[in-house]
Amino acid sequence: MSLVQFLFYLMALIAVTSAVFVASTKNLVRSIFMFFITLFALAGLYVLALADFVAITQIVIYVGGILVLILFAFMLSGKETLNAIGGQKGRFININKMPALLLSGLFLIVLVNMMFKIDANNLVWIKKAIVTKNIVMPNSQTTENIGINLMTKYLLPFEAISVLLMIALIGSAHLSRKGKGV
């Protein structure tokens, strides 16, 4: 087993266990901090998929932005939420959680079954990409290629997303302003 594979399985294990911990723990603050670890492990997985720029973006935006925002909202939403969380007692396998567990478990079985059936390594376009050398190698420069593509081929989605970010900015500022009701 090569080092890359070992790192992949390590990262995957960390990501999955911390995600399960996030889902199962009663303590909300602890679950948010474990979510940090999930996101970092996912960034490691992106690096192993040879997408270094996406990994950096993941760390900057998700870990630096979204999670801090979530922590803020949690801390601002007061003590009652903490008490409400502490109130829901019970074991991990709770009878109230049974439908959700069943749903996600069955969905997982369906998804994994489908992924073994589809046999992603032997898809036609992937074989064609390997033959025509259209595949990211560990020593290829991805970031400058991303920059060029962003300004040429993907200019329309880029602009659309900038408009959408503007709308989201105005909307959240409007929602969170002080004053008489929304």
Binding site: V22, L45, V54, F74, I85, L103, L108, I135, I146
Partner: protein, 101 residues
Amino acid sequence: MISLTDFLIVGAILFCVGLYMIVSKQNAIQVLIGIELMLNAAILNLVAFGKYDRFNNGGQMFALFAIVLAAATTAVALAIILNVYKQYKTINPGEIDKLRD
């Protein structure tokens, strides 16, 4: 080399954990974290397939767009959650059953 199926299975597991959180949690912030987990699973798949598209970078590009969209979604959702908390003094999605007062 790591096979694509491994990436897909990790993504599937994360997606199902997110689904479980969305369905079962009684706290809007935890539901939001579940949504983030599902988005991350989708991004992982995009990135894993994006390896086979060096010239156009389709997968990585849309992974970036998805990350930005997730940021926008989270900002608006948290503003809404704070407002809901101000109105109802709870953020349990099961107890918020009135549109106004």
